[in-house]
């Protein structure tokens, strides 16, 4: 329709697809090579489908929940498609890049929320007062067709790679420990498969590259997971397909979902051996941390006056504390404190530790900035040693230290 395509090229591509042997030697229902790289930052994923590249990163923010839904956090998916060289050229017959953004963002939002890939309750910290707001940013680095699939898979992967820092609430302060322990709970992995329908060809093709997408008159995106659940479906353009074709497509989608989930699981298992992808400016990260700490302190002040019981209760009800040994260690620490020293001295020591931890945090970030791997490793070692020192003093009430102690006990 609005394709800026020469007639010869169009005819050749159509003939190629009809004969089930596409221009890059794929079959009609073959995906291009999919590469997944997990990064060390929160929710960082680099996904490549052929030449299409998507980079994602997620960030967490502390907010109050909605009054009607006190134990639900927030999800937001933002997409950035402003890659300069593509914007001018990209005119698929279905729509332009900026119009696609609306489609894609809405589809991802709708499916991931209604199919409960991850639920909002897992983002709750204090019921009614404090929840996480997770925003996942998707950046389109290179566009070569089939952005819908790439964005969808990338957003699910970034959810898998998101780590929630634990929030400990003591008497007077909330501490956000950036030592990431808890991965976001992703219940199932929905995968989107997009079928492009071309005029004159009965069977649709999967994973079109940019030129093939220009040929296509309509698309159908089917979202499934490996447990054979259909999570969502959306189409654009006038499909002109039989009901049987659509059911066939959903069955093909199931096969593809299984293949892709396999690739994803392998990549996730190997994630620690990959290079660190580092593109977010550390300044932004620091300001976000400070902002989070500020909001945390505000909330604490707001309800500290009302309820002391609440804080104790949340400590008890916290899902983080699961293991009995850990609970015992915490209790021992607390009892030691109550017996030996005053509250004020405790606070001072805790303050000092906080300062040290934040200093260490800064050091680590400086190390990251420098970009020199060997230096980084040294600094990481230093950090670990310092933390061990603090732990050995036995005053830290945080869970990570308790867990480490438990591990020490196990090893010892």
């Amino acid at each position: 329709m609005f394709s800026s395509f020469s007639i010869n090229e169009r005819d050749f591509l159509q003939e190629a697809i009809k004969s089930n042997f596409r221009v890059d030697a794929r079959g009609v229902q073959d995906y291009r090579s999919i590469e997944v790289k997990f990064g060390q930052e929160n929710g960082q994923v680099l996904l490549k489908i052929g030449k299409t590249q998507i980079l994602t990163q997620s960030s967490l923010k502390l907010v109050t929940p909605q009054p009607g839904k006190p134990n639900e956090g927030f999800f937001r998916f933002n997409t950035e498609f402003s890659s300069l060289q593509q914007a001018a050229e990209y005119t698929s017959s279905i729509n332009t890049l900026s119009e696609m953004r609306v489609d894609i963002t809405r589809f991802i939002d709708k499916v991931l929320k209604s199919s409960r890939a991850t639920d909002r309750e897992s983002l709750c910290i204090v019921q009614g007062r404090l929840v996480w707001s997770l925003s996942v940013d998707l950046y389109l680095i290179n566009e070569d067709g089939n952005i819908m699939d790439a964005c969808f898979i990338a957003s699910v992967l970034s959810l898998m790679n998101t780590r929630l820092p634990e929030v400990t609430i003591t008497r007077d302060r909330i501490k956000i420990n950036e030592e990431k322990v808890k991965y976001l709970n992703v219940h199932h992995i929905p995968i989107c498969t997009t079928f492009f329908f071309i005029d004159g060809i009965e069977n649709p093709i999967i994973d079109a590259n940019a030129k093939e997408e220009k040929l296509a008159k309509s698309r159908l995106s089917i979202c499934m997971n490996i447990f054979e659940d259909l999570c969502g479906m959306s189409s654009l353009g006038c499909l002109e397909a039989d009901p049987q074709t659509i059911i066939k497509c959903s069955k093909v989608a199931l096969i593809k979902t299984k293949e892709i989930t396999k690739i994803i699981r392998e990549a996730f298992a190997n994630r620690n051996n990959q290079e660190i992808l580092d593109f977010l400016n550390s300044k932004n990260k620091r300001s976000l941390q400070q902002e989070n700490e500020r909001t945390a302190q505000q909330f604490l002040q707001n309800f500290l006056g009302n309820d002391d019981k609440n804080t104790n209760q949340t400590n008890d009800d916290d899902d983080i504390v699961e293991d009995q040994e850990v609970v015992e260690i915490l209790r021992q620490n607390y009892n030691k404190k109550a017996k030996s020293t005053n509250q004020q001295s405790i606070d001072k020591s805790v303050q000092k530790k906080e300062v040290r931890i934040s200093q260490i945090g800064n050091d680590v970030q400086d190390a990251l900035n420098s970009g020199n791997q060997s230096k980084r490793k040294d600094k990481m070692k230093e950090k670990q040693e310092k933390i061990q020192e603090i732990d050995s003093q036995g005053d830290n009430l945080s869970l990570s230290s308790a867990l480490k102690k438990k591990n020490k006990n196990k090893n010892a």
Binding site: K110, D242, S250, K251
Partner: protein, 243 residues
């Protein structure tokens, strides 16, 4: 409130006493607004959607085919709660694109060079199934305005209550969002033009069920629309002999 209840003679009924595959009352009115090229009001149960068509001229020497513009609007008094912020609603933007993409390929735009067809679709009352009602209203408005189309476009909404497939959801049934399935069907070619599934994980077998019941209900809705069009034409049959 029970979603389904069984009667004495073992026929399952839904909340408002309908059978599983029973549609609500449909009312189609054509030529509802005098100053427009074409207009239509489509009512199914309490859901009311009105579509206005304005065929305009463009001054610029454009391509050799017309342009279709769609503006879809869910009014803030249409749902149970009044909604103040509509302009930033991304759901409506998404749905305008859906309507536009389907009708751009069904209308024979080559016959309207250098013209612009402006469609305004308003949801006056949303009591479940307003998306399919919007497609139907646009289809009627285009027919009323004398715009050439390749085919007769009909849409329907289906859903799942538990494991049971039902047709034409009302607001309470939709809200639970077990499943909402919008299907747009082309009557002459007997093919599907648009699919949209909004659900919380359903089995593939359930999906096949949904497809088959939706296609059947599209035929029923198409008959209602056709009788309305025929009635209008017969009513004004004298005007065919004026000239």
């Amino acid at each position: 409130m029970l979603e389904l209840r069984h009667d004495n003679d073992q026929s399952t009924l839904r909340m408002n006493g309908r059978k599983l595959l029973e549609l609500r009352d449909i009312k189609c009115q054509l030529d509802v607004m005098k100053n427009t090229s074409g207009s239509a009001l489509f009512e199914i149960g309490n859901t009311k959607v009105v579509a206005f068509l304005q065929a305009q001229t463009l001054g610029v020497n454009q391509l050799n085919r017309g342009i279709l513009n769609v503006n879809f609007f869910v009014t803030n008094f249409s749902a149970i709660e009044h909604r103040a912020d509509i302009k930033k609603d991304i759901k409506m933007k998404e749905f305008t694109r859906m309507i536009k993409s389907v009708f751009e390929q069904v209308i024979l735009l080559d016959l309207y060079p250098r013209s612009q067809l402006d469609l305004q679709v308003f949801v006056l009352e949303a009591d479940g199934g307003y998306r399919s009602a919007a497609f139907n209203a646009v289809s009627l408005a285009l027919m009323d305005g004398g715009i050439a189309m390749k085919d007769f476009v009909v849409a329907t909404t289906a859903g799942l209550l538990g494991n049971v497939g039902v047709i034409d959801l009302i607001y309470q049934e939709e809200k639970k969002q077990n499943c909402e399935f919008v299907l747009v069907h082309l009557q002459k070619a007997q093919k599907i033009a648009y699919v949209n599934l909004n659900c919380n994980k359903i089995r593939l077998s359930d999906f096949e069920k949904l497809m088959s019941i939706s296609v059947d209900s599209c035929d029923k809705i198409a008959n209602e629309m056709k009788t309305a069009i025929r009635a209008k034409l017969v009513k004004n049959i004298n005007s065919f002999y004026f000239k």
